[in-house]
Symmetry: C2
Subunit: 313 residues, 2 copies
């Protein structure tokens, strides 16, 4: 079965034809997100038609279309996405009509989790949590093989649970949200704080103001034995482990899958987080939860979008 | 359809025959939890037989049996309950065999939520969260009309999510769990802290050491304008609201149902919590989540146990 997956980002639109083995053919178009909805829609639809035309795939073999958007579709079928200034647009109905295929919309963080379920480290897993450790913390809960999105499809904001009550202000309007302590950007912030106390840290090699320090710089510092980086990483892993154990206590998943830039740190991150989680388990049954890295990189958006179609059609 | 509900507590066993209107007939037996499993089982089975005999109900009209236990049943069908020193006992198989009816086991906090779904304030609700504010914080998540209990049935520990990272030590072995800030016992602790600063508080009427202060005393103090009580209650509602909004951000339920002793505080609690939650919502869609009190009191255990049978049979 072939599905058309559309990964709609704030900058680029990735489009691909996908079967059970992965992406058959793909192309990209610019989103130009400042434009009105109607024009963005035309770009998407045009790029989909071009891709089908360029491919050797018979239009009739395409079963349905899935779209991952940086926002949500409400139960009434209207799409909302802040970065695109969409406040209730009929994307599903428009694409279904213009392309003549059933179209299904879901959040892009959900798409990333679905991609792991179809093609990555969550294959065959019925109950899982995906956490994406990037500038913020995105996520998805998978229960009985389905994404859990809540009554209005507005759930799944795993980064916006209180983690330090009254703590660091968050863009969501509250304080102390988990993402302020476990995003890749949190690791950078903590490392900068330690750098002020350890003036010989390698982080100053990136400039005296520390503005250009990346999460990778901190992880490299840990590998090279840099004291400030090691202390920051220790704190960060402490936070991340406490967050993970909270989710395990609530949802008792089979696997926790960590994606996003920071998950590329590999064993240095996973070994420490697994160890800290083991020290914190509430029930021996929770020890069975495996903590694994996301497998898919750049193609996750298109694969996940295709999975949105597959799951719903 | 009639179900037999067994509410197995650490002290008492409540047993009832239940139909769509509620409890038809009920009786109670002492648990005597220090005894071996086999003897507790005999007490349960004997009391069930007695109740059926005493009732006018035809044995054949009883469809199935549900049991709420202070623990969990793992997917392999073995029951675990710390307070009963059960570390994997075949309660389901034994009761099914001895009473000749399909028997289903679930956690007692889940049973309380199921009771609200069947007979209380969650009737007709597909997606909800129940929080029981007592000595600890129990809870249940309801998704698509079903209790969410996780891969090993060891989820639903809503009181054991990190709320103040590195905060007050919790019995679960971690620090800063939500229940240390939102249980009824947390309100008492906070009120005592304020009492040390406001020596004219009414709480000292319960004795100089404050050992006998109850959550009801603090709520009564709020109603009477007592400064220490008012400040403690304000902090408590702040914590509870932050906890509730976290669950809404994750699970986006239709309703949040608050039970346990503290929910009896009524409007003084609910008005404040609803107001504080409104200030904290991430998405306008989250504003649709209603925060309601649990309706059922003493009968919740038996009604919920019967619902365990109804849901699973």
């Amino acid at each position: 079965m072939i599905y058309l997956g559309v990964d709609l980002g704030g900058t680029h639109i990735g489009i691909g034809l996908v079967d059970e083995n992965g992406i058959i053919i793909q192309k990209e178009a610019p989103t130009l997100a400042h434009r009105p909805y109607q024009q963005v829609l035309e770009t998407i639809v045009g790029a989909c038609r071009d891709l089908i035309e360029e491919s050797a795939v018979d239009q009739n073999d395409i079963r349905a279309i899935g779209v991952g958007i940086p926002g949500i579709e409400t139960p009434s079928g209207m799409s909302h996405a802040k970065n695109l200034a969409w406040n209730g647009v009929p994307l599903r109905a428009d694409m279904s009509r213009l392309l003549g295929k059933n179209t299904y919309i879901d959040n892009d963080a959900h798409a990333a989790a679905l991609a792991e379920m179809g093609y990555g480290n969550l294959k065959g897993v019925s109950d899982a949590i995906m956490l994406t450790l990037g500038t913020g913390v995105g996520g998805a809960m998978i229960v009985n093989g389905k994404i859990l999105s809540g009554y209005n499809h507005a759930g799944g904001e795993l980064g916006h649970v209180t983690f330090v009550q009254g703590g660091i202000p968050c863009a969501c309007g509250r304080r102390g949200c988990l993402e302020k302590y476990t995003a890749a950007s949190a690791l950078i912030r903590i490392a900068k704080e330690y750098a002020l106390r350890h003036l010989n840290t390698c982080l100053y090699e990136k400039g005296e103001d520390l503005n250009d320090v990346t999460a990778k710089d901190v992880v490299d510092g840990v590998r090279n034995g840099d004291t400030a980086c090691k202390q920051a990483f220790e704190d960060y892993c402490e936070y991340l482990s406490d967050g993970i154990v909270s989710f395990i206590n609530m949802l008792n998943p089979q696997k926790i899958c960590l994606g996003g830039g920071l998950s590329k740190a590999g064993d240095i991150l996973f070994d420490k987080v697994r160890e800290k989680c083991r020290e914190r388990y509430f029930s021996p049954l929770h020890m069975e939860t495996e903590i694994v890295p996301a497998l898919l990189k750049n193609d996750a958006g298109i694969l996940g979008a295709a999975m949105i179609a597959k799951q719903n059609d």
